[in-house]
């Protein structure tokens, strides 16, 4: 009984911790502005969470995340990329994050992180909202010509740990699949999305968008959504099987990933993509090692290094 009670206490302790809120207010943006360039860093960082951003100054083009206080809820089209349809952040705050999802968007956790996101607030951006409501030159008005088309705009959130998919959550940013058209909706206010306990201690969250309006060129609905007020807590694992003495020298990879290892002898590594698929493997020795990864498509990857029963996991972004 005492052992069981201890185990329960330890387990409870494992999943309790100080709660934090990532609300982006610490970026200090003036109202009606945005920041779509995180350089020289590869991400915007707040409350230990990293929101990758890739900005190309030559083309004035960005993907991933931007931080915004934009308030335009009226102007349609791609010239109004940074506004939430509420014209403000969650809970009436000023600042929020906007994601342009090119394939997938990520929220990264630091190496050996013990924090997890319990919930976050999600909303539509003005651009896709008005596109779904009114239609435009590229995307259809949801419901179609008759109003009966079973359209939808879906946000899928997946949690990964050690390169493996833990769980996923589906959130409809718009849903026109009801028999009764009066029930059709497009999300126009900040909505809290709880992430299941099963997500555990994540090392990344992966966001993807899908729509019923697709053509030869992929999804016609503009691929944007907004996030705010991420509720974060710390987790403590009762089992420590982590290798130490390993670090990634560069987490933004063009051609070569550099690993610095203090481990004597040979350790083995595997590299996983966002689908949990192993895409490469090999061996590492002592000191600074290079792994050539120019053949990999751009995106988020995890490296899992094992030596005996111990392992270490880190993530990197292939540009």
């Amino acid at each position: 009984m005492k052992k069981v009670f201890t185990l329960i206490i330890l387990s409870f302790t494992a999943y309790c911790g100080m709660s934090q809120l990532a609300d982006f207010e610490d970026f200090g943006l003036a109202t009606g502005t945005f920041d779509n360039d995180s350089s020289p860093e590869a991400w915007f960082e707040t409350e230990d969470l990293r929101f990758p951003n890739d900005y190309n100054s030559e083309f004035d083009f960005w993907t991933g995340w931007a931080i915004s206080t934009d308030t335009d809820t009226q102007t349609p089209g791609f010239m109004n990329q940074y506004s939430s349809i509420s014209g403000a952040g969650g809970a009436g705050s000023d600042t929020y994050a906007v994601s342009f999802v090119s394939g997938k968007s990520f929220i990264l956790f630091p190496e050996n992180s013990t924090i997890r996101v319990n919930s976050l607030q999600i909303n539509n951006a003005t651009y896709p909202y008005l596109s779904m409501r009114d239609g435009d030159s590229f995307a259809k008005k949801f419901g179609g010509e008759t109003g009966d088309d079973p359209d939808f705009f879906l946000l899928t959130i997946k949690g990964y740990e050690g390169g493996a998919l833990v769980d996923s959550v589906l959130f409809y940013l718009a849903d026109y699949r009801f028999e009764d058209n009066s029930q059709d909706y497009i999300v126009d206010e900040w909505t809290t999305v709880d992430l299941p306990v099963g997500f555990g201690a994540q090392d990344s969250l992966v966001f993807s968008l899908s729509s019923s309006d697709n053509g030869m060129f992929g999804m016609n609905t503009p691929a944007y959504f907004c996030a705010d007020n991420l509720q974060i807590s710390n987790t403590v694992s009762t089992i420590d099987n982590t290798l130490s003495g390993i670090s990634l020298v560069n987490t933004l990879v063009d051609e070569v990933l550099i690993i610095d290892s203090d481990l004597e002898g040979v350790s083995e590594y595997e590299i996983f993509n966002v689908h949990g698929q192993q895409v490469w493997s090999g061996r590492l020795g002592f000191g600074e090692e290079q792994v050539h990864l120019g053949f990999l498509p751009g995106g988020q990857y995890w490296m899992n290094i094992r030596k005996g029963s111990l392992q270490w996991t880190g993530s990197f972004l292939r540009r």
Binding site: N56, E58, F59, F61, T63, T75, P76, G77, F78, M79, N80, S102, R133, D134, G135, D136, S137, K140, K141, G144, E145, T146, D213, N214, G215, M216, F217, G218, N220, P297, G298
Partner: protein, 634 residues
């Protein structure tokens, strides 16, 4: 390329040739007329088939644009966004950029897009329109892969003194059009002006579903006006100078599509074209030198999304063509062409220029039962040599009523300026699309009597184009960029049947055509998603058209019917096939010096609800009344 130097060079050449003509004229005025072999400049190319736009159909649609005329009378598939909206062409499964468009032998395509919007070509400015099906870059020029549409504004020296023609059209959806053609011929001079003004609300209604109310088109007004000024000077029977100035202004609102709540977008087009030509017709020789300059502006505005973009392109063309008859059966053609394009737009990082120079030559032998021609073209673009393209064709008539023809050619199309220079993802390393084409056909005079004719033509063809340019999303990229990535194979069958019966007071004719085009991708592409073996989007496999014409004394009845097969779209949907019928009734009244033709036309007579493009409604049955008054020319 020094634009001014090039312009000066061609003007000097033109002036030299003209002055030379005047000198020769002075020397030969009193020379006895020689018996001469008539050099026919416009002989067709062996082995190819063509459709001519029916003149009476054209006369009854004076307010129409060329796109509308092509729909009803030829096998050209015209992609139209609806009444008053843009219209582009597809011939034998090619894209709009694979249609070569020539006006009086001069190319008209927009170099930025590589295609032409036929809704901007008024039928009033064109006297003859002929569609040449099939590939023949060697003869017709860069981009003649699907086919060539030859437009001509002709000179009629048989007319004397004043010529006048007035057309007024009123119709449904606020259509109002007026056109005037006024000319004067005096001995060696002929001066003609053609002007028109056209406006329409285009606020037609279309059906979404039988149980739902009709939806009315909004933001769809159009306003066009233009003037074509011609000047012709016939120095003598051998020397002639022609000049044209074409000005046109188009103001077009862009309506929302069927899944859009509203649109406030509009487009403005401003076009100026100035051409001059010198022609010498000798005993067995013809020389034609032409110079042309185009200045075209386009503005696209959508205040709803805060978008306002303009572009301007200028084209300078100089070309010389000579045709020499050799003996009784042979003809040799040679030509030089220089084209300079300049385009300014916010879509490019800086102004784009392109220079093309081409030289071509052809040989044609024509005998009683046999005709053969061979052409070859070599073109340079910005100093780079493009593929050398040959073309060979033949026609054989084993019997007077039976002909067999064939043609094989190598063809290419240069990338347009947008593909090369669009910022940030234009690809200046693009290669021309190129490939081979072959066709064979037979023609039969089924009936050939004075008052009864029936003729059948059948053609089979095959074409393969590699390095077809597609805008794709690279696997690790964020931007669509044009690449030579696709390969398209097109096979098809075309059939034409023409029957005509004529009496003293009546003519009945029936023309029917059926086209089968199988145009498929040979390779799969990830984005855009294209599966190998799939038919090109907006390319129908089946098309049928017919024109029934009955003329009795001063009355004329015309019925056109068209069946267009189903097509797949960019949105992964399929548009069903549809039938379209156009009815027209006309009557001519003679009053003194004038002939007045009154026509009632009912397009979409069967009130078909159809779509040419996805999410674009089309008008149902509607009406047009046209009055055309022509001064009798004595």
């Amino acid at each position: 390329m020094n634009w001014t130097a090039s312009l000066r060079g061609w003007w000097l050449l033109l002036l030299f040739l003209s002055m030379g003509g005047l000198c020769i004229s002075a020397q030969t005025q009193d020379t006895l007329a020689l018996q001469e072999v008539i050099v026919v400049e416009k002989a067709g190319f062996s082995g190819e088939y063509s459709d001519v736009v029916d003149q009476e159909v054209k006369d009854q649609q004076a307010s129409a644009h060329l796109g509308d005329l092509l729909i009803g009378t030829t096998g050209v598939f015209v992609k139209s966004y609806g009444s008053g909206s843009s219209a582009t062409t597809s011939i034998r499964g090619g894209s709009a950029e694979h249609t070569r468009v020539l006006w009086n032998d001069l190319p008209l395509e927009n170099p930025m897009l590589g295609q032409l919007d036929f809704s901007l070509l008024p039928s009033l400015f064109v006297d003859e329109a002929e569609v040449h099906y099939g590939s023949n870059t060697a003869a017709w020029g860069n981009g003649a892969i699907g086919g060539t549409i030859e437009l001509n504004t002709t000179t009629d020296w048989d007319k004397r003194n004043w010529q006048a023609q007035y057309t007024a059209t009123a119709g449904a959806f606020g259509l109002q059009q007026q056109g005037v053609q006024l000319g004067y011929t005096h001995k060696k001079f002929q001066i003609i002006n053609r002007s028109f003004y056209r406006k329409a609300d285009n606020n037609f209604s279309y059906l979404i579903r039988p149980d739902l109310p009709y939806r009315q088109q909004t933001n769809s007004k159009t306003k066009q006006w233009g003037s074509l000024q011609e000047f012709h000077y016939r120095i003598n029977n051998r020397h002639q100078i022609n000049a044209y100035f074409w000005y046109q202004n188009n103001d077009r609102q862009l309506p929302p599509n069927a899944t859009q709540t509203r649109s406030v977008a509009y487009q403005l087009d401003d076009t100026k074209r100035l051409t001059a030509a010198y022609q010498y017709t000798g005993n067995q020789f013809l020389l034609k030198a032409q110079l042309a300059g185009y200045d075209e502006n386009m503005q696209y505005v959508d205040s709803l999304i805060g978008y306002d973009d303009g572009s301007r392109f200028r084209t300078l063309i100089g070309q010389v063509k000579g045709i020499k008859s050799i003996g009784k059966y042979h003809r040799w053609t040679m030509g030089l062409q220089q084209i300079h394009y300049q385009a300014n737009t916010d879509l490019y990082e800086e102004a784009a220029q392109q220079h093309r120079f081409a030289i071509w030559s052809g040989w044609q032998t024509t005998m009683e039962k046999f005709q053969f021609d061979l052409s070859v073209r070599q073109e340079w673009q910005d100093g780079d040599r493009l593929p050398l393209v040959p073309s060979a064709g033949t026609v054989y008539r084993p019997l007077s009523w039976w002909s067999v023809r064939g043609r094989v050619s190598r063809n290419y199309r240069s990338p347009n300026l947008n593909a090369l220079y669009y910022h940030p993802t234009g690809n200046p390393d693009l290669l021309p699309e190129s490939g081979w084409s072959a066709e064979a056909g037979m023609g039969f005079d089924l009936i050939k009597k004075t008052n009864w004719q029936a003729h059948f033509e059948g053609t089979v063809f095959r074409r393969n184009i590699k390095n077809w340019i597609r805008w794709i999303l690279p696997s690790a990229g964020f931007f669509y960029t044009p690449m030579n990535i696709a390969e398209v194979e097109t096979k098809g069958i075309e059939q034409r049947l023409k029957i005509a019966r004529q009496t003293d007071r009546s003519v009945i004719s029936l023309e029917m055509g059926y086209d089968y085009w199988k145009a498929i991708h040979k390779k799969s592409i990830a984005t855009p998603r294209i599966n190998a073996g799939s038919q090109l989007v907006y390319t129908p496999k089946h098309q049928f058209f017919s024109i029934l014409k009955m003329r009795y004394k001063k009355a004329i009845f015309l019925y056109q019917h068209r069946l267009t097969g189903s097509v797949t779209t960019l949105n992964n949907t399929t548009l069903p096939r549809y039938h379209l019928g156009n009815f027209s009734l006309g009557y001519t009244i003679n009053t003194g010096q004038w002939n007045h033709q009154i026509n009632l036309r009912i397009p979409n007579f069967w009130n078909t609800q159809y779509r040419i493009l996805d999410r674009q409604g089309m008008p149902g049955r509607h009406w047009e009344i046209q009055v055309r008054s022509i001064l009798k020319n004595k």
